[in-house]
């Protein structure tokens, strides 16, 4: 860290312990209205919480066995995972399941206790969601396509070592068609550039080994323009800054090697100012209510910025680097 960051006031330090406690408490809030309203995000939520804990250096803060049991209880016969038991299988929750199992090193449990033939069953669920004509992926059997699903598919399949099950070239072609005049990418061809969609496109191209298709200068320029007055990043031009874009914008810049195009210190200061100093957790903007989504993407953002004491995060997979190294070798 540079001198500027070291000179920050004391309350602008990362309050690691409080964040760990906050994440641990999320599962004990079962009587909150909020809790059941977000049930469709339960597995994603577990992924967010667990990733944050790993990056904070507290990987054991959630019990491993129970984590695995819960993940496996969400699986369907077809190999896909629902957001919670009784919810339909969906690409996004399936990706979260694979990421969680990767993080807790439990692919062997998936093999032994998962539905059908373990990993391969998950792989075939994902592969079946690809449209072989267009290369795109649907989120579920009903067919809506979005670059988020495409990225999720490549992410999970590569972690499982099953990328060969899908037509990667076709998928890459589709992403290329999502590039916009401003250098960014949208959710589909013609859709507005959006930092989170850019992350999915750039990460998918990284997994496919086709970063050569990216107009790095133009994209980097658009991404660096996301930094606004107080140091925070926004997701689209003329929108407000929001701590979660610390991840979407920074990880994309990291993948194209341009993280230094934004001002690190003011971004660190902005993220830290979004913390809830009493209860832990991080909000979208200072003073707002915290949630696990903004917490994890702020912390992974800080990790990319080299904030001291944090574990390094992998910009492509949004997992601890140690996990990605262990799984992919």
């Amino acid at each position: 860290m540079s001198e500027n960051a070291a000179n920050l006031p004391e309350e602008l330090q990362l309050i690691t312990e409080a964040h760990v406690k906050y994440i641990q408490s999320l599962d004990t809030r079962k009587d909150d209205y909020e809790y059941w309203l977000t049930e469709h995000l339960r597995l994603n939520g577990l992924y967010w919480g667990l990733t944050a804990l790993h990056i904070l250096g507290h990987p054991g803060a959630l019990p491993r066995d129970e984590t695995i049991d819960f993940v496996l209880s969400c699986q369907h016969e077809n190999g896909g995972f629902g957001a919670a038991p009784g919810h339909d299988a969906h690409m996004l929750s399936t990706v979260s399941a694979v990421q969680i199992l990767a993080m807790v090193d439990a692919f062997d449990e998936l093999q032994a206790r998962g539905k059908g033939n373990g990993r391969a069953q998950v792989g075939s669920y994902i592969a079946d969601l690809q449209n072989r004509q267009t290369g795109t992926f649907a989120g579920d059997e009903w067919g809506e396509h979005d670059t988020r699903f495409l990225y999720g598919a490549l992410n999970a399949l590569s972690l499982l070592g099953l990328l060969h099950l899908v037509d990667v070239d076709k998928a890459v072609e589709h992403i290329a068609a999502c590039a916009n005049f401003d250098g960014g990418y949208g959710s589909g061809p013609g859709a507005e550039s959006h930092a989170a969609q850019i992350f999915t496109c750039v990460a998918a191209l990284s997994i496919a080994g086709r970063k050569d298709l990216i107009d790095i200068d133009r994209l980097g320029r658009w991404l660096s323009e996301r930094q606004v007055g107080r140091g925070g990043l926004n997701g689209r031009p003329e929108k407000k800054e929001d701590s979660c874009y610390s991840w979407w914008v920074l990880s994309s810049l990291e993948m194209i090697g341009k993280t230094h195009w934004i001002d690190r210190d003011s971004l660190v200061a902005f993220i830290l100012s979004c913390q809830d100093l009493q209860g832990g957790g991080i909000a979208d903007r200072p003073g707002d209510m915290v949630d696990v989504w903004h917490t994890v993407f702020s912390i992974t953002g800080l990790s990319l910025l080299g904030y001291p004491g944090l574990q390094p995060v992998d910009a492509v997979y949004c997992l601890p680097k140690s996990t990605v190294q262990r799984v992919l070798g």
Partner: protein, 529 residues
């Protein structure tokens, strides 16, 4: 009910008869407090304690000092009670004459032959007034009657299902709509009473006779698993019925209604939307009607993603049925645009809405509908910083098959883009930049258009120079960092590295310091170029 033992004369205790035989108890009470009459009970717990004492005459005095200390008649009463309270077979061992004397004594002295249990637990009701308790008990009676009537209804329904007949008339049992409506009202009343009497919440569906044949499936949770699910009341009930009908693959009007109920409570529930769509398609319901319903839900839940997923599904199913009818396609496109305008008025940059809008244009081929461009222009007029509208404009114009070559990326020069269109769009961007020079959107748009049209950046140099005065001098003024950025590229394009370097340096030093790293990199590029 407490025994009608005769208690001491107490004011206001007028529901009890008087009893002359309470001296020992009164004495005991007087020792623990100042000499005053026993306090008048005001709650049912107090009254119950009083009744209990009355049903156990002389008990406390006897315990304290032994039976021998009691007056003679009290001693006699104690002995009589002891025998009177013996189980009948033991008591019957007394000779008949003694038994008769015993009962006479008990009767004359009005002795309570049953002793009430001490410390009866009334729970919270212990603190209630008599009136309140009486009111509660009356309601309980009403509930019991209603439950009886409801049982009769359920038996009749069972009988109807079995094809049974009325034992009196011999006619086949058929429930009338009137009876069902009456039962629905009865259940509502029962639910209200259960809630009031016992705090028990009856599910809306449990209370609806229409759902009697469905056995809800509550959530099963893996033992001790992390992130176990906990539901609250009505929502839990609705979800458990949803599971039950999904297992049966039932598609019916009541299922459609159920999905609506759940969506009202939690529009983000992914599975319920899929099941709703399955119902619509299975029953072949009118898709325009569903869209009408969806419009209202969408306006209530602006940020919800599932709503747009559902709309996509509906359109994908609906489009093939009208694809051959140009008029129907146009009419549908118009009604969709109208709705999109309405929702964008609430949230002008909603990503889902804009994505859907571009999908719709492509799917329905609405490229050349003049209202589309007009409405985008209106939106830009209202907020020149609306990047979504700018992005949509670019898509609408440069992805239009009339203006583009298939396969040419948005970031590439396309010879099919007509010069007149490129000119028009360059002018449009310039006009909007003039309104707010530091607005990123039209600057990005201008660059995009120039690339599309294969124009040199230098073609807008005069315009760009208009935002910059005295660069590098004391009187330097820059009205837009984007202009300075573009000017640097224009100089680089012309090979004027020195001027380009000056622009970039001033950006890093003064006009856009936060991105100093980027400007430094651009300077390095100049050197290596």
């Amino acid at each position: 009910m407490p025994p009608k033992g005769k208690a001491a004369n107490k004011p206001k205790a007028n529901e009890r008869e008087c009893s002359p035989k309470q001296q020992p108890q009164q004495q005991q009470q007087q020792t623990s407090s100042s000499p005053a009459p026993a306090p008048t009970p005001t709650t049912i717990a107090e009254r119950s304690a009083l009744f209990t004492d009355e049903s156990r005459p002389f008990e406390s005095a006897r315990r304290k000092s032994g039976i021998a200390s009691l007056p003679r008649d009290a001693q006699a009463a104690c002995i009589a009670l002891r025998f009177a309270r013996l189980p009948a077979p033991a008591r019957n061992r007394l000779p008949p004459k003694s038994q008769r004397e015993l009962w006479r004594h008990v009767n004359d002295a009005s002795l309570p032959i049953r002793a009430l249990k001490r410390n009866y637990d009334y729970g919270a009701a212990g603190g209630w007034s008599f009136e309140r308790y009486a009111d509660w008990a009356a309601k309980r009676t009403v509930l019991t009657c209603l439950e009886g009537a409801s049982r009769v209804f359920r038996e009749k329904r069972e009988s109807e299902k079995r094809g049974g007949s009325d034992p009196v008339t011999g006619e086949r049992v058929v429930l009338t709509q009137g009876e069902i409506d009456e039962e629905r009202g009865r259940r509502r009343e029962m639910a209200a009473l259960r809630k009031e009497l016992y705090g028990v919440v009856t599910g809306r569906l449990e209370a609806d006779p229409e759902w009697d044949d469905v056995v809800p499936i509550p959530q099963e949770e893996p033992e001790g698993a992390l992130a176990t699910i906990s539901y609250l009341g009505e929502y839990a009930e609705a979800i458990s019925y949803l599971r039950a009908v999904m297992v049966k693959k039932e598609y019916s009007p009541r299922c459609l209604k159920l999905t609506e109920t759940i969506i009202e409570m939690n529009p983000a529930h992914y599975t319920v939307w899929l099941y709703r769509a399955a119902n619509i398609f299975a029953m072949k319901l009118s898709i325009p009607d569903e869209i009408q319903w969806l419009n209202e839900v969408s306006l209530e839940h602006l940020k919800n993603y599932q709503i747009w997923h559902h709309r996509h599904l509906l359109i994908d199913n609906y489009y093939p049925t009208i694809a051959d009818d140009a008029e129907a396609v146009a009419a549908f496109g118009a009604s969709e645009r109208q709705f999109l305008q309405q929702i964008l008025a609430e949230d002008t940059k909603n990503y889902h809405v804009w994505s859907y809008r571009s999908y719709l244009i492509e799917k329905f081929g609405l490229w050349d509908v003049p209202e589309e461009l007009t409405s985008i222009e209106t939106m830009i007029d209202e907020d020149v910083r609306n990047n979504s509208a700018w992005s949509h404009r670019f898509f609408l114009i440069f992805s239009n098959p009339a203006n583009s070559t298939p396969g040419v990326a948005a970031t590439e020069h396309d010879p099919a883009a007509p010069a007149a269109v490129v000119d028009r769009e360059v002018e449009y961007a310039k006009e909007k930049i003039a309104l707010a020079p530091q607005n990123q959107s039209p600057w990005n748009y201008l660059r995009g258009v120039l690339v599309k049209g294969g124009r040199k950046l230098g073609s807008v140099e005069d315009f760009v120079q208009g935002f910059i005065t005295g660069l590098g001098s004391d009187g330097e003024d820059v009205k837009s960092s984007h202009a300075l950025d573009l000017l640097a590229e224009i100089y680089a394009e012309k090979g004027d590295k020195k001027q380009a370097e000056l622009c970039l340096r001033r950006l890093a030093e003064k006009w856009d310091r936060i991105r100093a790293g980027y400007w430094e990199w651009r300077k390095k590029c100049l050197e290596t170029a």
